[in-house]
Symmetry: C2
Subunit: 320 residues, 2 copies
């Protein structure tokens, strides 16, 4: 059970290691959306993504409680860097199982934080087998990318800061956030965002954005069971995983809706942020803005918080 106290304690624990990232606004994008948007810039976070928060909250506890001699995880993306970064902070070895197809630049980033990279075939079975092998061989503790309360509580601190730093919680004179949006992949960020918002700004709805080409969460949300996506084909490479029982339960309790967008809509929103806000966001990160621009009538005139999740893109492979 992740309580408000769990989230506050997580925040106190990770605060010395993270950036309190800026909340930016942009008049042109407000005009385009017909709403008032506040962007929580986790692209400026350590390792370039919010994942530093959850990784730190888990790894710092593993180290303090002496739960294991090392840390392991499997990831081809930002969570790999987050765990490698967090393990370095506490001086534990990190073993990151990565598919051999992962971009070289991502492997190098993980190596740059002093972690070991163990290559495997690009299947979930091979990745999980790789982690089991590391755990037996090294006594490492697994820090799962999202199916872990400590990770979820860490991710919750992004929405906590967004609400605290804008003061849009309904306690002040300003009208509170009508809605806070986050993208959904495995559901760690979305669960944390929904819980933080539930506790800190209870009148605010939480809505998720999901790519059409990885639309498992919207199905699971409606059926109440963990579903697979009908197909996986999207530029939003951080959002390809499916929910777990744990994240689905939190999402069903505290999320209002999940809306999908196409890759073309994601790329348009990403380009708008690059051109107008002059900041670099990755495709997964543009999904919530794409949702707002697609469903303008639903968000017209509202105060909207958006978690910009990360800025790790390969500049040699841009979609425009």
């Amino acid at each position: 059970m992740i309580t408000l106290d769990t989230i506050q304690t997580a925040h106190d624990r990770i605060r010395p290691y993270i950036h309190r990232t800026a909340v930016l606004t942009n008049q042109t994008i407000n005009d385009r959306a017909g709403a008032e948007l506040f962007f929580k810039c986790e692209n400026f976070q350590k390792i370039g993504a919010f994942k530093a928060r959850g990784g730190l909250n888990a790894v710092l506890q593993v180290a303090r409680n002496k739960e294991g001699a090392a840390i392991t995880t499997h990831s081809s993306g930002n969570h790999a860097q987050a765990v490698a970064f967090a393990a370095r902070q506490v001086g534990l070895p990190a073993y990151i199982v990565m598919p051999r197809t992962a971009p070289k630049v991502k492997k190098e980033a993980v190596l740059g934080y002093g972690a070991d990279v163990i290559e495997c075939e690009p299947t979930l079975d091979a990745r999980e087998a790789g982690v089991r092998d590391v755990m037996q061989r090294t006594g490492a503790v697994l820090v799962h990318p999202f199916d872990d309360d400590r990770v979820i509580a860490g991710q919750a601190t992004a929405a906590k800061e967004l609400i605290e730093d804008t003061g849009l919680d309904g306690l002040g004179q300003d009208h509170p956030f009508d809605v806070i949006l986050a993208p959904v992949g495995g559901g760690g960020l979305l669960s944390g965002t929904a819980l933080a918002t539930h506790y800190l700004s209870p009148t605010t709805r939480v809505i998720a954005g999901e790519p059409e080409g990885a639309a498992d969460a919207v199905l699971s949300f409606r059926s109440g069971q963990v579903e697979k996506a009908p197909y996986i084909n999207t530029i939003a490479d951080g959002l390809m995983t499916s929910l777990s029982e744990r994240t689905l339960a939190i999402i069903q309790a505290h999320v209002t809706d999940i809306l999908t967008v196409s890759d073309a809509e994601i790329i348009d929103a990403m380009r708008l942020v690059w051109e107008r806000m002059k900041i670099i966001i990755e495709p997964s990160c543009a999904v919530p803005l794409a949702v707002v621009l697609k469903h303008k009538e639903q968000f017209a005139g509202q105060k909207i918080g958006i978690i910009l999740t990360g800025g790790n893109v390969d500049l040699g492979k841009l979609p425009f």
Copy 2:
């Protein structure tokens, strides 16, 4: 004569219309440079560049003093947008003479601010003739991109904010800026930066960065006369113009040195900022950081302010 009072008055005049842009730092870039860098992010400024400051300071005075019925300038870049933006704020018509070879996206940005675009041949003679014609026909007042004390005083407010917001002026407990760097094209920003630094943080050196492919300022600085560049061929499209007598005089009085960098060094520095700071800067803007990375021994261990001048790039034509 641009005094401290001139700059303070300019700042008060333009403050309601501009952003007080953030000053960002980045550990990785500090480690790479072996120095402590503070980036003044004018890429987040209105119209995406510091030029909004000088344009506003001139146009607001033209309007208040009823000096003319309209505003005109010639520019293919950020100054065109700055004048169009400023003229719209005061409700004066703006006529912007642009070479017919200017990118369509830049013409559209100027049109988007409600200005008229007058196309001409891509030569300085044709541009100046175009402006003379507009002035005769419409009674417009010329706001030159840099050869104008009001423009220089406006540009000076960027360094003023950088010094004020960091407190690194030698009056507090912290060691002041050892050096502040700006790029040099026509010298408007560099002159303003040098004057603001001279008045507000007098122990701080001011150094300029210039592309090897538009290296007029370094020659003029050494000879004491306005010189032409040996050749013009650089990706830093905002820095192709030469100094004027006015800007050269200020630069000779208050600038310590001008250092040149190659286009390859500019692109490397630009990519480093995009990848590590997750912000979008244009090539001209990367020149001072390229200087610091090229001459590490000269800047080792120092506190360095850098004016990041703008973020208007064509995402369809990136150099990486």
